[in-house]
Symmetry: none
Subunit: 410 residues, 2 copies
């Protein structure tokens, strides 16, 4: 049997969203409701645990069945993996921004005017980054969208407890990084050396001459944050014995899934925003199952973006797009051989605009599932569902319905 | 007050069991239902945790209130304890089979033709087993039913991380065991030495001469698997301050309970199969309480056997026998002074025929219990029960209703 796990990021809401109702209550979701009523059971999930405000990375680790308190090291590693960097246990990774530093050496813009072209040339120029003191350490930089990128240092004895060189502040010089212990001090030293090198390389780069001529801010610095050593996460193949693909657009989600050993598959028109063609993700997902994968993880990001933007209308609209995608899935899944689960990775209420600890509705559907009486999927009705309230672990639950996970004990 | 905990092994089912219903739904259980309706409250239990596929040993540890992730070392120790071997922290134990090796030294049968008589003579002959290199290590062998038995090595610095000498394969020689670390390497060395000695002793044994004359396969080898060091499990007396008995038939369950400090009591006609006279277990159980024990653990195995055999009819029939036993218990328990709990140790669906992670119905009955509205005990109705959904720990929950466990903190 096969498994599909679908996460709509930031799906959960509060009664303060829209006239006493959550966006999920207001949205028309006939397809999800019908799937739940006909083949499913619902409940409420604490993505990590009751009273824990999840980050997106920690929530996904927990939903995949890993204990984020044991394995979470920081965001950088997932961002780097998410933009396609191949990582090993010897890597320490950072999220980076191209930034602008003025002639006095003070940070003028943390995003280099949201630079939107020519970053490939800068990436190329930065391929020469190298520590002189620690030549055995491999230094890699990769750009992502706009000003975003990742920096990875690979080598022995590199700690991950270092302060950022991105101060989240303007008008001050790029601060030196410092490390909490000996191995982290080594990492900080290399980061500082590489940051200076990058400033030199970028300042002299013709693209920045051109940008200045055009009245644009030069991308003449790399600002690093989110330091993270490679986490102690075994692959889903090792942990559960399954082969897996991820179809997502946001680098962070792709990164968490790749670190968990899932193969990334791109879907046309998938953007990680409210405009994403998420139905194409569903199509790629079912293709992956057809091609032999045991499971696929689909990630839809838009509801969270709308929530962070305090835009209830956009959230309702995106949820209705998710519902259409479920309509397509409902018609095209082989329901005798497949289990599907669906939840949010956290609640992001419209007023507050950030993640909160409130539990999130969850459902599972398929032939092994003990169907319950629920007919609507939202934060209120799912509290009466047959799954009750539980924490994390949605992936192994879904896989177990398809008889795909190993036994613990004999 | 007193406590009784009853586990029906493999009780839980799926809608795929029998025409869209579970075996527990199909079975007539008027006595259990009446007990639940009149004095009880129900819920759903994850024997270990959501999304965890329990083994029988790990599930029972968790139900008893131990954390199997902390204390589980392997099955061998429970099998050995279950057939009556007294164990200490210095023991490493294996499950064994009498096997047949051919003249070329290759394994011909892993069960010595399911040898059914004379094993006592073989056990007697094997009492001379002894390591020459490590004479301080005590080597003990004990037979169980048919070809089954256990081997225990007792001595200082014996690791438990060793490979089996039972390859689960025919036509190859008995493989040498190897250890993962220094202390396990020592264990492997002794196991190999003892395995060779056993082959010599058994090959020369008159019983095997006789078996060959009768055209039967000789029991001329010991095959070992399931290596386990004695686990870090304190007794229920130390942990909860209670005296306890176990009435069961399967060696594994007796073993887990004995390691947890419960005294084993035999019941006449209790076989650990669907034909077991389980009502006699209930009678012995209440006797134990009368004789002064604080609690008794009753284990009924048949529902799991039927599930592994994909036999829905046999499972329904066994559940109805469990129900009759509850009828007797209902009449004979002193309900002013006693709490009873009842659950499965995991779900074993008929189609799949092995344990899965789906939660299991659970109930508690007695004077301290907040009675709920449930009138039927099964995988569907219990989802609406007053106990909600929770993980493991059924024993301390039961004991606490009888005011029998110590406080954590002040």
């Amino acid at each position: 049997m096969k498994s599909i796990m679908v996460i709509a990021d930031g799906l959960g809401g509060r009664p303060t969203d829209l006239d006493g109702k959550t966006c999920l209550q207001v949205a028309e979701t006939p397809e999800i409701d019908d799937l739940l009523a006909s083949r499913g059971a619902g409940g409420m999930i604490d993505p990590i645990g009751p009273g824990v405000r999840p980050g997106s990375d920690t929530a996904h680790l927990s939903l995949f069945g890993y204990d984020p308190y044991q394995c979470y090291t920081g965001r950088g590693v997932f961002e780097a993996a998410g933009i396609g960097m191949d990582l090993t246990e010897d890597d320490v990774c950072f999220r980076t921004n191209f930034g602008t530093v003025d002639e006095e050496g003070n940070i003028k813009d943390r995003r280099a005017g949201r630079i939107s072209e020519g970053q490939d040339q800068l990436e190329e120029a930065l391929s020469s980054l190298k520590s002189k003191k620690y030549p055995e350490v491999e230094v890699r930089f990769k750009r992502s969208t706009e000003h975003r990128g990742a920096l990875c240092l690979r080598g022995p004895d590199l700690g991950g407890e270092v302060t950022p060189t991105d101060p989240h502040e303007l008008g001050i010089p790029i601060p030196d990084s410092t490390g909490e212990d000996e191995s982290s001090e080594k990492t900080a030293e290399i980061l500082n050396e590489v940051t200076h090198q990058a400033s030199k390389i970028l300042s002299d780069h013709p693209l920045n001459e051109k940008r200045k001529e055009q009245g644009k801010l030069p991308a003449n610095a790399i600002l690093s944050r989110g330091a993270a050593k490679y986490p102690n996460v075994t692959s889903v193949e090792e942990k559960y014995g399954v082969t897996a693909s991820v179809v997502a657009a946001g680098a962070l989600y792709i990164g968490v899934a790749r670190v968990a050993g899932m193969e990334f598959k791109e879907a046309e028109g998938a953007t990680g925003t409210v405009d994403s063609k998420i139905i194409n993700k569903a199509k790629v997902g079912l293709d992956e199952l057809d091609k032999g994968k045991d499971m696929v993880f689909l990630h839809f990001k838009g509801a969270d973006n709308a929530s962070h933007d305090h835009d209830a209308e956009a959230k309702v609209k995106f949820i209705e797009k998710v519902d259409e995608t479920f309509g397509w899935l409902k018609e095209n899944i082989d329901w005798e051989e497949t289990h599907l689960s669906f939840a949010g990775d956290h609640t992001t209420p419209i007023q507050y605009g950030d993640h909160v600890a409130d539990p999130v509705p969850v459902m599972v559907a398929g032939p092994s599932v003990r169907n319950d009486a629920l007919e609507e999927f939202d934060e209120y009705s799912c509290r009466d569902g047959g799954m009750g309230r539980f924490s994390g672990n949605l992936l192994p639950i879904t896989l177990s319905y398809s008889n795909l996970i190993p036994k613990f004990g004999a």
